[in-house]
Symmetry: C2
Subunit: 203 residues, 2 copies
């Protein structure tokens, strides 16, 4: 006499909503996306979405949530396992192919929009700082590891280089969002690549 819905079912629905939401967020940006846009995209009703998420912010945070923590953990593990810091750094900066390519992380500008437009909200800005900090640490750890192995001879402190990588990448993401092709993200990634080699004293 008890119809416990399978966890699997709930998870699937949740994922459906998040996928639809991601599509819409990329299309319309964070601020201009409404709950209506989302439930129409999933093919659910208003209440249907509210069953799973309590508002747009909750939905968005779920969407981007954990992603960063995952990659941080993955990086820590890789370092632990003795993966080459230079290879690892390239992977984190440019993806598995370890090489600059056309810019494609279309959610990145939305994430930045989310944090920038919400920067006056105290709780959000705490969250933003945490995320930023985690990103810095990730790169910093890789660089420190490489330094201690004698692979890198950094011209600036690992923290500063880590922050520079993040700023530069964020800048490319933002500019791509607003000027598209014009930004020549591939060429810029190549420049970033060259700059990092210089900053880390790699031949």
């Amino acid at each position: 006499m008890a119809p416990k819905m399978s966890d699997h079912y709930k998870q699937k629905r949740r994922k459906d909503i998040l996928e639809a939401a991601e599509k819409i967020f990329i299309e319309k940006g964070y601020e201009h996306t409404t709950i209506k846009d989302i439930y129409e995209e999933v093919g659910l009703s208003r209440g249907g979405v509210y069953q799973y998420f309590s508002n747009k912010r909750d939905l968005f945070e779920s969407l981007i949530g954990d992603k960063l923590e995952d990659i941080y953990q993955l990086t820590a593990d890789a370092l632990e396992d003795g993966e080459d810091p230079w290879t690892l750094l390239k992977k984190r900066m440019f993806g598995e192919e370890q090489h600059p390519s056309e810019y494609n992380d279309s959610l990145a500008p939305v994430v930045l929009e989310f944090f920038v437009s919400g920067r006056t909200d105290e709780s959000l800005s705490v969250y933003a700082r945490d995320r930023y900090h985690l990103g810095v640490s990730m790169y910093e750890n890789i660089i420190q590891q490489g330094e201690s192995q004698g692979i890198f001879t950094p011209r600036f402190s690992p923290g500063t280089i880590a922050r520079a990588i993040i700023s530069f990448s964020d800048g490319i993401a933002v500019d791509s969002a607003l000027a598209g092709e014009e930004v020549q993200s591939k060429e810029q990634s190549e420049l970033l690549f060259d700059m990092i080699q210089y900053m880390l004293g790699i031949r």
Copy 2:
């Protein structure tokens, strides 16, 4: 029998509104600023503001308008007058003191927010591209001038280096908006400074 208000008066009022608006925009960000916030800050009524601007976007575009064109023109003139490209480049990147300092252009993140959150609006994105293009040209011209004078020996095309300066600066602006001190903008500006010397082949 005709009370033509002095242009001076109108200009002053307009400027008052823009100044108040700038303050509020910096405080609350673009999206979260309302017309009400603004007329309360100036000490005017709702209708009062609408007398001068037709909506928030119009107001914001007036605020940032021309600024970029002005600096572009100023740069073109300076090059024409034979100003040293390296000095000029440093001025444009770091202000008159020509040296990296704490990040302080508090309107910059608001400008980025404006363009990023409005990036789906066709007319706005045209405007954004124009602005971006103008910025690229400005830096590109300086670099080309320096190259032809034999002061710079660029490792990448002037256009790519120009775009990199913009991306990096935008990145610092965005990150500062959302993580504040944490971003260590001064250190990053120093790194940017060093990187540019390297990219331009300056001893």
